[in-house]
Symmetry: C2
Subunit: 245 residues, 2 copies
């Protein structure tokens, strides 16, 4: 944990913050924060700064808070992600939060097992917990929005344009394609949407529907990657190309 995240409900009327639970325990047992020490803190959705420890007891951590800096810049990227198996989702969600992704739409696909929808990993509270871990890691304060859509075709046909906007560059890593990612004009893109299929890939109908909705296919190379590896690989490459590499 590289940042203690503060929530609205932590703040007292005098502007100090009083934390309990896991965060207070971390400050006490891992950071061993003594009164007078400065901890790095951030307010969920807001600025980052320091918290001076006023008191650190078994009950609570009491901080005098000074929030002065913006969190790190956004990646400008959204993901359309076929629902991965639960073990993979538990790795992907903290990673995408730590990499500054703005939104993740978890969508059904032909090769998504139906049982994944019943996984506790998709419960909003569990999703939020995984995202918060990623923010604490990367010293960010802004939660990615996570949506779950159980029907692929209605989502793509009826909702996708309004959600992602028409100006974003839409990209589809898809094995048959030959174009490399570097040829798709990322340096000029204001925003990017990446459509990442399940292990086993999008079926042809899905890839064709995405291409018909403006997603440009590209090759990731001859290696087939697990979704939890492909996501950080692709986000790293997109970040590099958007920076003008």
């Amino acid at each position: 944990m590289n940042l203690l995240l503060l929530f609205d409900e932590d703040f007292l009327p005098d502007g100090t913050a009083r934390l309990t639970g896991r965060r207070a325990q971390h400050a006490r047992e891992v950071l061993r924060a003594e009164p007078g020490e400065l901890l790095r803190v951030g307010r969920l959705g807001g600025l980052v700064g320091t918290g001076e420890v006023l008191e650190n007891t078994a009950e609570a951590l009491h901080l005098r808070v000074s929030l002065t800096e913006p969190p790190p810049p956004r990646a400008g990227v959204e993901l359309l992600l076929a629902i991965p198996r639960p073990k993979a989702l538990k790795k992907v969600l903290p990673a995408v939060a730590s990499l500054g992704v703005d939104r993740v739409v978890l969508v059904n696909a032909a090769r998504v097992e139906k049982s994944y929808f019943d996984s506790k990993v998709l419960a909003p509270a569990f999703v939020q917990e995984l995202l918060l871990q990623g923010l604490e890691q990367a010293r960010d304060t802004r939660l990615p929005e996570v949506l779950v859509r159980e029907r692929f075709r209605p989502f793509v046909e009826d909702e996708l344009d309004a959600l992602f906007g028409r100006e974003a560059l839409r990209l589809l890593p898809h094995p048959p394609a030959l174009q490399p990612l570097a040829s798709l004009g990322l340096a000029e893109a204001s925003r990017v949407v990446l459509a990442i299929g399940p292990d086993g890939g999008w079926v042809p109908f899905e890839a064709e529907l995405l291409e018909a909705h403006g997603f440009r296919p590209f090759t990731l190379g001859p290696r087939i990657l697990r979704v939890e590896t492909a996501v950080p690989v692709l986000l790293g490459q997109v970040a590099l190309l958007r920076a003008g590499a």
Copy 2:
């Protein structure tokens, strides 16, 4: 599993292969391979091709093997990796194998907990199992070499040059640096060594010793990433820059 890996000991004198255990079970229960079907196979360290199912029973999977294609090209990258916590290592090793890394030196560092050395994850059989998972995923046949070094300074001072060679471009993702990765000449590098520190980073002594041994520091940006996220992000970026992006 996108490739059934065959070992020398699977081959019978007539050139067919007889698999038992986990791989046979996978072929029977997941692939449901019937006699006459072609499965994608590869020989550990060798070529990839097809295996025609001769028999698929509860005891064994019997294949007529035809190995004709080379596995995917290597990444040309080696990692000097501070030993991550066991949960992270279990994610990193399959990922590096699937990304075609040639060698991983797991090295001690000041911020590596001593208990990690006793983890079963570092046992050679466990390491090999994790690497094989990555090969099966990426349809590769070549195992990365994994070395464990318990003393950082003697490794860097006495062994590193001979192991990695002097012509490889040595890179050090290190927060204080300002140079971006794209400025370090990757397109011209024949080989690359990446020195990735523990969660919490290399301590100054370690970073200075690595810099004194030719490692060029660069910035990953303002976000602090977990090692299991940083490794695929960096390998993706290195691959893109080596391809001349």
